[in-house]
Amino acid sequence: MLQGWVIVVCSIAYLGVLFAIAWVGDKRADQGRSIIANPYIYALSLAVYCTTWTYYGSVGRAASTGIGFLPIYIGPTLIAALWLFVMLKIIRITKTHRITSIADFIASRYGKSQLLGGLVTVVAVVGVVPYISLQLKAVSNSFTILLHYPDIVMPAHSAAVPVLQDNTLYIALILATFTILFGTRHLDATERHEGMVAAIAFESLVKLVAFVAVGAFVTFGIYDGFGDIFERAARVPRLAALMTFENDAAHYGSWTSLTLLAMLSVTLLPRQFQIGVVENVNENHLRKAIWLFPLYLIVINLFVLPIALGGLLRFPDGGVDADTFVLTLPMAHRNELLALFVYIGGLSAGTGMIIVETIALSTMVCNDLVMPGLLRQRWWPLHRERDLSGLLLGIRRGAIVAILLLGYTYFRAAGEAYALVGIGLISFAAVAQFAPALIGGMFWKGGTRRGAVAGIVAGFAVWLYTLLLPSFAKSGWLPAAFLHSGVFGIELLEPQRLFGLSGMDETTHSLFWSLAANIGAYLWVSLARRGDVVETSQATLFVDVFRHTQAQVSTQFWRGSAQVGDLLPLIGRFLGPARARAAFERYARAHGADSLDDLHADADLVHFAESLLAGAIGAASARVMVSSVVKEEPLGMDEVMNILDEASQVRAYSRQVEQKSRELEIASRDLREANERMRELDRLKDDFVSSVTHELRTPLTSIRAFSEILLEDPRTELAERKRFLGIISAESQRLTRLVNQVLDMAKIESGKVDWQNTEIDLRVVIEQSAAATQALFRDRKVALSLELPDEVPLVCADRDRLIQVMLNLLSNAVKFVEPATGWVRVRLSGAGDMLRVDVEDNGPGIRAEDQARVFEKFRQGGDALTSKPQGTGLGLPISRQIVEHFGGRMWVESEPGRGATFSFTLPVCGPARAGAQ
C-alpha cells in the first residue's frame, strides 16, 4: 500500500535531487568546467517541450482521436530540419544583441520598441500562465490518484482539499524557490543558468525513462507485444475506428494545421526560446540536436498508442479518464513501484516546464513590462538611486512568485473546467501569433514596428475571440449563448464559426483566422508606411546577421557624443558598480587603452554599454536609459539608406575580393612552402659541402706537410722517412675511406643504392663481422664476446649492408675502449616481430648532450677541439640510414665513464612485410 507520506517523501527527495544537480551545475559553471556544454545535454534540455500534456495528455488524445496526437511531435521533427535556416539565425542574433527573451527579440528587431516588448509579454503571460496551471493540475491529479492506491478513483470524484493542505501549493512554492535560486543568481540574463539547464536535462531523462518503462510494461507485461494489443483492439469496433482517419477534408486539414502549429510552438514558446536560444552554449550543439531532439520525440511517443488502447481495453466503461491511463494501468495491475515511478516521471515533466517557463516569463515581465513602467514614473526618482541591481533582482523574483501563484490560483479556480483541460492547444495558438513578426522580421527588412504591433494585436484579438473566450463559455464562465450567437447576436460573428466558416475543428478554425488577420495586418501596415531610422537599421542588423561584422555596422548607425563618466555610473546602477567597472576595464584592455581614463567614448563604446545594459533590462529599456545620458544626433533617413546602400555595394565587391584573395592566399602559401623547402635543402647542401671539405682538408694537410718535409730535406734519416711515409700512407687511406663514405652517403640519400634483399640470419652476419674485426681486437688486446640465441627468425635485408653496420659498430667500440682492460659484448635478442642487436663496451661513454649528435654527419663523440678525431664522422649516420631503410631503428644509451651501448632493431621477415615492400 502506498502511504501518502511515501509519495510525499519521494516527491521531496526527487526535488532534492534536482536542487543537487542544479547546484553542481552552477558550481561547475563557476569553475569554468561546464557540465552542460555538449550537444546531448542541449538536446535533452530541449525536450522540456514534452510537458505533462505529453506525458499524460498524449494518451488521452490518442484514446479519442487515434494518431491525432502525433502532429504535435511531427511538427517539431519537421521544423528541426529547417533549424540551420531559422534557429541558427535566431541564436546568432540573440548572442550578438544580448537578447534575453522572445519579447526582447521582437522589441529589438522593430527599433527596440517598448510597446512591442510589453505587448509580446502580455500575450505570452495570458497564453502561457494557464498552461502552467495545467501542469500543476496534472501533478496534483496524479498525486491524488496514487494516494487512493489500490483503488482507482478519479480526482473529480474525490473530495476537494483545502488550500493549505493542498500539496500542489507546496510544490508550486518549492518550484518558486528553485527558480529563484537557480534562475536569478545573476542579473545579466544572457549569462546562462547552467545549473537549471542541467536539472532540466535530467528531468527530460527521467520522464523519458518512466514513460518508456510504463509503455514496455503495458505492451510486453500486460499484453503480448504490439501485435497482440492491436489485434485485441481491432475486435472492438469503437477501438478499431481509432486505427484509421476519417477520410474527409476536415481531418486532413486539422492534421496539417496541428503540424504547422507545433512547428511554430516549438520555436516560439517562451520556454523553448529560453532553453533553445538563450541557454544555448555553443551554436554547434544545434547541429546534433537537429536529429537528437526528434529522436527523443519519437521514442517518447512509441508507446502512446499501445497504452491508450490497452487502457481502453482494461477500462471499457469510461469510468477512468484516458488522461490517467499512464498511471492507472500500472495501478490496476498492482505494480506500485512502477506507479510511483510514473508519478515521479509526471512530476519531472510538470516541474521542468514550470521552472523554465517561469524563468522566461519573469525575465519578460521584468524587462518588458515592469522596468519600462518604472522608468517612466516621474514621481519615483529612479535616476538618483546608485545601485538598482538589487531592485532588478527583486522584481524578477517577485515576478517568479507572482506567476507561479497566478498559475496556482487559476488551477484552483478552473478545476475540471474545459478552459484548463483544453489549454494545451489554446496556448500553442497564442504563441503562434509571434510567428509573423519574428520570422518575418528575421528574413524581411521591410517589416516595421507598426506592422508588427498591428499583426500581433489583430492575431491576439482573434485568438481571444475564437479560442480563449469560447473555452470560458464552455466552462460556464460566460453565457453559453455567446458560443452560438456571438456578440450582439450577430450570427456572422459566431466565435467558432466566424463568418460562417465551418467544417474545421476549433483550433484549426482559430489558427486560420488569427494568422490570417495577423499576417494580413503585418504586411498591410508594414507596406503602407516605411519604418523610422532605428527600425531600418535594426532590420538590417537582424536580417543580415551573417553578413555584417556586427560591431562595425551597428556603430555606423550612431552618431553623437558621450562621456565615459556618464555611461559607467549608468551601467553600474543596473549591474552593480563593481561588475560594470570590471566589464568596462575588459573593454578598455581589448581596445588597447591602459585605463578607463584613456577610454574614448565613441560610438563603439556607447554600443557596448547599451548591449551590456540590454542583457540586464532588455533592449528597449536599455536604449531609453543610454539615450538619457548621451547626446545623440539623429541620423536622417537618407543617411541610413546611404549607409545601407554603401554597405550592400561594398558587400558585393568585398565578396569578390574575398574570393580572389582567398585564392591568392592559397597560391602564395604553396609557393612559400616550396621556397622554404628549397632553402632548407640548400642550407643542408652547404653544410654538407663545408663539412666534407673540412674533413678532406685535415688528412690532405698532413699528407702535404710530410711530403714537403721529405721533398725539401733529402738528408732525413731512413727511420724518420719510413715513419713519415707511413703517416702519408695512413692519411691517404683515411682520405680514400672518407671519399668512399661520402659517395656511399650520397647514394643512400638519393635512393640510388641497389639493395640486394635476401632472407638472412643475423647470427651469421654478427659472426662474420666478428671474424673480420678479430685482428683489430687482438692488436688492441680487447675482449670480444658474443651472446647469440640458438635460433632466431630471419630478417629481410641486404647482407653486405648489415655487415657494414656491424663492422662500423665493432670498430667504433674497439677504438674507444682502453687496451688490455677493455671489452666489447654483442647481444642478439628478439622482441615480438623485431630483432634487436646491442653492442656494449666499457669505454669512456658518451655525454647525454652528445648522444643524439653522434648520428649527425661529421659529428663525433667527444670534444672536437681537444681530442683528435678518430673516425670519419660518417660511419654512424650511414649505419642509421641503412637500419632505417630496412624498417628498424638505431640508438645509443650511455653514461659517461660507464661505457656505451649502441643498439638497433630490425623487423623479422614476414609475409606482411614482404607485401609492404
Binding site: I67, T77, F230, A234, F245, Y252, W291, L295, L302
Partner: protein, 69 residues
C-alpha cells in the same frame, strides 16, 4: 556558418519538404486503410516508419559532413 554548411542546410531543407509531403494528404490517404502490416495497423506503421526514416536521414546528413575536414 551558413555559407560553409549551406549544402547541409539545403539537404535538410530537402528532408523537410519530403517529410511535409509524406505526412500530408494525399500520401496519408494512401495508407489510411484498415489492414495491418505485421500486426500493426497500416496507418500507424506508415507514420512511425516515415518518422524514423526522416530522423535517420537528418542524422545521416549532419553526421556525414563531419567526417571530412
Amino acid at each position: 556558418m551558413i555559407a560553409r554548411g549551406s549544402l547541409t542546410a539545403q539537404r535538410l531543407a530537402g528532408v523537410f519538404l519530403l517529410g511535409w509531403a509524406l505526412f500530408n494528404y494525399p500520401f496519408l490517404y494512401l495508407f489510411n486503410r484498415a489492414e495491418t502490416v505485421a500486426g500493426i495497423p497500416m496507418l500507424y506503421a506508415y507514420v512511425f516508419a516515415v518518422w524514423a526514416a526522416l530522423i535517420g536521414m537528418m542524422a545521416w546528413v549532419i553526421e556525414r559532413r563531419r567526417d571530412k575536414p
